[in-house]
């Protein structure tokens, strides 16, 4: 196993099935690579060797007996630390849950394992998934494998970095305002935001419940398709999960893309100028991707998403309002951190939450509490919900004209650690291209479309409700047109895996 970064889901399964390797050996190799790279990347917070070994041995027994292997047989995956894992520490990147051991598995985790995946451990993220740079983790920032002085994006920064650096074949992330796609773009991997309800949220620690999604990060659209196929589908434990049949995402990848209508929202390229600007390198890479698709007989159509300019404000009102309630349970009473020595109940609450939460989480709880307060509810929360409906309506209109909407995933490539942390507003505007899909509940995928200044750039395709198959197919075809990108130079040498 000298070329971990190159492994795909299919290769892993084939090699295990043909007895060229074992799931156990593969997991061990991954743990070795993690041990070597983690001091530099800070991606993994908790390893699950025991659990991985048990699962790997199960897969190896199947292979020994010549039995058919499940679709993700032996595939090593990383799980973002906001997904509940039984008996496996789940910190949410917060001091509050530093020693929290869940009693149960998130549905997505349970389904991954049922499909044969081997869970390597829990990966770092912004505290309670609140952030766009991973600098908000109580356990230190994750570093971008392409340039360790830069952020990997957030909040699923650990997931994206682990996949990019080959510390796992794929990962689970969560996306509330771009938290899968933005780090995927910054780290040069594929990140898929499924339709709201497509993947169960049961066990995903809530940030903004009406916006939270679980989705895969992988090194190819095909691997993402394998993961989505494993985790998608209705869940009786999540009342907001959708009872819509799950197509065969992998099989449908090979259907043609010629004739697809791809909408280009003028706002995405124009409005960016007012808000800090669309980086020229990003612009060029994304335009290059669109040109390639046009040459492959896709039709580019200019469209409008007129309410996009309100998306960021709308998003921050709704997400923080919901967060203010979702994070009320961290009160020191039943689990997690409790301030010692508090003199009264009120003091216990205040000190627990003051010391247990980081600055960004507290900022958002305050924002959200304010937006829901008597006298402000109509002006903020209710109005935001109205704008949200308009944004969803924009998408409905657009998808009457086109099959897919394309735009950049982020306005710039990965920025430097520390560059924006003191400027929350500028940090929030980094989500400008990603929040709309979460608000509308439609699916979107980000995949690398080139480099700008040696850093990966992501192009984003957004589809109609439950059009994941189409998005994956388009991404898959585009990957062929594009040719390989990555792995990051420092992680490219065989056996290297960041061990330098």
């Amino acid at each position: 196993m000298t070329e971990l970064p190159l492994l795909s889901v299919e290769i892993v399964r084939r090699r295990i099935g043909e007895r060229q390797t074992t799931a156990t050996a593969l997991a061990e190799a991954c743990f070795g690579a993690i041990a070597a790279a983690n001091p530099r990347l800070n991606g993994y917070l908790t390893l699950s060797q025991e659990r991985a070994r048990t699962q790997a041995e199960r897969i190896d027994r199947l292979a020994d007996q010549g039995l058919p292997l499940p679709p993700l047989a032996g595939v090593p995956v990383a799980v973002k630390d906001v997904l509940s894992t039984r008996g496996l520490r789940t910190t949410c990147g917060s001091r509050m849950l530093e020693n929290y051991l869940p009693q149960y598995d998130a549905t997505a985790v349970e389904r991954l394992e049922a499909a044969g995946a081997v869970i390597l451990g829990k990966v770092n993220c912004d505290e309670f998934a609140m952030g766009s740079s991973n600098e908000n983790s109580a356990y230190g920032p994750v570093r971008n494998p392409w340039d360790t002085e830069r952020v990997p994006g957030g909040s699923s920064g650990g997931s994206a970095a682990a996949v990019a650096a080959g510390l796992g074949v794929a990962a689970l992330g969560s996306d509330t305002g771009g938290s899968i796609r933005q780090p995927a773009a910054f780290c040069g991997v594929v990140g898929l935001l499924p339709t709201y309800g497509r993947v169960s949220r049961f066990g995903l620690v809530a940030f903004g419940s009406s916006l939270d999604h679980v989705g895969p990060l992988a090194r190819s659209a095909k691997d993402a398709a394998y993961l989505l196929a494993a985790i998608a589908g209705a869940d009786p434990k999540d009342a907001t999960s959708a009872d819509v049949p799950v197509p065969d995402y992998v099989a449908e990848l090979e259907q043609p893309i010629a004739g697809l209508k791809i909408g280009i929202p003028c706002e995405a390229f124009a409005a960016a100028g007012e808000t800090g600007g669309l980086d020229a390198g990003v612009n060029a890479a994304v335009r290059g991707a669109l040109d390639a698709l046009e040459r492959a007989d896709c039709q580019l159509v200019e469209i409008r998403l007129p309410h996009t300019e309100y998306a960021t404000a709308t998003y921050y009102l709704i997400a923080t309002a919901e967060a203010s309630a979702n994070l009320a349970r961290y009160d020191g009473v039943r689990y997690g951190f409790r301030a010692p020595e508090a003199e009264s109940l009120g003091a216990m609450y205040r000190q627990t939450r003051d010391h247990g939460f980081g600055a960004e989480v507290k900022r958002r709880i305050l924002l959200g509490t304010y937006a829901l307060s008597a006298g402000y509810y109509d002006a903020y929360y209710r109005r935001a919900q109205r704008v949200r409906a308009r944004i969803a309506e924009d998408y409905r209109q657009a998808f009457q004209q086109v099959d897919v909407i394309a735009m950049p995933t982020t306005p710039t490539p990965a920025f430097r650690i520390g560059e924006r942390i003191e400027d929350p507003l500028r940090m929030y505007l980094n989500d400008i291209y990603t929040v709309s899909a979460d608000l509308a509940g439609v699916p979107a995928i980000s995949l690398p479309c080139g480099l700008a200044g040696g850093l990966p750039v992501g192009v984003q395709f957004t589809g109609n409700y439950f059009a994941e198959s189409l998005l994956l197919r388009l991404a898959h075809h585009y990957e062929r047109l594009r040719g390989p990108i990555g792995p990051p130079p420092a992680f490219a040498t065989p056996g290297g895996n960041g061990a330098q």
């Binding site: 906001v82 997904l83 509940s84 789940t90 949410c92 849950l97 929290y100 869940p102 009693q103 149960y104 998130a106 949220r201 049961f202 066990g203 995903l204 620690v205 809530a206 903004g208 419940s209 009406s210 009786p236 434990k237 999540d238 009342a239 907001t240 309002a321 919901e322 203010s324 309630a325 994070l327 009320a328 349970r329 009160d331 009473v333 039943r334 689990y335 109940l345 609450y349 509490t369 829901l372 307060s373 008597a374 509810y377 929360y381």
Partner: protein, 486 residues
């Protein structure tokens, strides 16, 4: 009180929480059973663990719709769950899932039945579904001085909150309203309405206004009214208190007060505790609750007869007094018992007397529910049949009932076992009478000389000689005949 109420008119509205008697909690599958060791009926959902999600229990909605229909409410086609945010250690999520601006049902009413007066209709503003909180325990532990404990067995048990219009005008009316409400809930089998166990809880809003004034006065909310007695007493106290404030030229403060049952007074809660902004907003984890016309109709079809209708029917069908009908219907099981016994019986009134008399006394004496009645309804009917058929005197019947209850025997078997068959044969009774007259010639002379009060003496002697088994009516008739015949 009466003096106060001649000057001020109390305006009262009640907020009643009724715990639904579903098998499992409203948003998870934990049992709702009461009285088990703390924190044994919990799961990730009702513990509020990170990432757990609520899933609505349809059975709770069924019961809530039943209750709403029983209170003549309009059930909304779409209602919305909302989060009510506040911090308290027994509230695991830091918010309660309730309903706010779109409750399950609205615009209902129930009728008070005050003696003789025309039925009075009390409006029901709304009825909504919500989850219960857990229980904080501040006492009874070695370290209770500086520590409290929380039991979350009750967290997530389904509740309905029923809010009345401010249509009640006296503590007695409030008491009557709660009585009728409880009765309806019991009839609908949506709750056991056990106030000691907290499955029926009541808060009251009360204000005073000078007689003749239409505008409402400042409203005071009283919490902690956990028995019918407390409700009435607390309201009486509060009305007096507000009257005094008004009489001395003061202004009633709009506030929340707690009733202290031990001292019989209400006390203002510290303003900090009541200064809540609950920041309600729609619960994003639960889709809107849709109640289709078909669903509502299905529940409507299975609604049982409600107490008022049943009372009226018992009076019409069985010739019971309104009072007896009311006592019977106060417990649905008792009324059902009566109706099973009375089915096909000739003397329904007699059966009612036994149900309300010896049977109820036995149940009270044994602390037993009607379901544990020691005599099946058919056998009670048989017993009454034996009395009506002259086989048993009422006095004998009491012994027979006791035997039936103790031994689980049927009426006939108990009569046989006790050897208590009444002598109803005129020849046999005449023979005993002859012997008694023979034995008491002196008294017989006195009777015949006009001292007819001695009839009782002779009756006693005959009954004694028959070991109590002679039919007393026949003994009377035949004795008189024998004495007057000379």
């Amino acid at each position: 009180m009466a003096e106060t109420e001649s000057r001020y008119e109390p305006v009262i509205g009640l907020e009643v929480h009724v715990q639904l008697n579903t098998a499992s909690k409203i948003f998870c599958s934990c049992t709702t059973r009461f009285g088990d060791p703390p924190n044994t009926h919990t799961c990730p959902v009702c513990l509020g663990l990170p990432g757990a999600l609520p899933v609505l229990n349809r059975a709770a909605v069924d019961k809530a719709i039943r209750a709403a229909l029983g209170l003549n409410c309009t059930v909304r086609e779409t209602s919305i769950f909302a989060r009510k945010n506040y911090f308290y250690p027994d509230l695991p999520k830091g918010y309660q899932i309730s309903q706010y601006d779109r409750p399950l049902a609205e615009h209902g009413h129930l009728e008070l039945e005050t003696d003789g007066a025309a039925a009075q209709r009390i409006g029901i503003t709304r009825l909504h579904l919500e989850e219960d909180a857990g229980k904080s325990m501040h006492e009874g532990f070695p370290d209770s001085l500086h520590r409290s404990y929380v039991d979350l067995n009750r967290a997530g048990v389904p509740l309905i909150e029923i809010v009345s219009e401010p249509d009640l005008r006296s503590p007695a009316e409030a008491h009557e309203y709660l009585t009728r409400l409880k009765e309806i809930m019991l009839y609908l089998d949506v709750s056991d309405c056990n106030m000691e166990e907290g499955s029926l809880r009541c808060d009251a809003n009360v204000s005073l206004r000078p007689r003749g004034q239409t505008a409402f006065g400042a409203k005071v909310e009283i919490k902690n009214l956990n028995s019918f007695r407390f409700l009435q007493r607390a309201l009486e106290h509060e009305i007096e208190r507000q009257a005094q404030v008004l009489d001395t030229g003061g202004r009633v403060l709009q506030e929340t007060r707690l009733y202290n049952a031990a001292e019989g007074v209400t006390r203002g809660m510290r303003s900090k505790e009541e200064a809540h902004d609950y920041r309600y907003f729609p619960e994003p984890d639960l889709p809107p609750l849709r109640v289709s016309a078909a669903w509502r109709a299905e529940i409507e079809r299975h609604l049982p007869e409600l107490p008022k209708a049943r009372r009226e029917r018992l009076v019409a069908q069985y010739g019971l007094t309104p009072y007896d009908a009311a006592v019977l219907t106060a417990q649905p099981a008792l009324a059902a018992y009566f109706e099973r016994a009375a089915a096909g019986a000739a003397n329904a009134k007699g059966i009612a007397n036994w149900v309300l008399g010896d049977l109820s006394a036995w149940l009270n004496g044994h602390g037993a529910a009607v379901e544990q009645a020691p005599v099946p309804p058919e056998q009670l009917a048989a017993l009454v049949g034996l009395i009506d058929g002259g086989v048993l005197s009422s006095k004998m019947a009491k012994d027979v009932f006791a035997r039936m209850a103790a031994e689980g025997e049927g009426a006939e078997a108990a009569v046989a076992a006790l050897g208590l068959r009444q002598i109803g044969d005129a020849g046999a009774i005449e023979a005993i009478i002859a012997a008694v007259l023979e034995a008491h010639p002196k008294q017989r002379e006195q009777y015949q000389a006009g001292k007819t009060a001695l009839l009782g003496f002779f009756v006693g002697q005959v009954m004694k000689a028959s070991q109590g088994q002679a039919n007393p009516g026949m003994v009377n008739d035949l004795l008189r005949k024998a004495l007057e015949a000379k």
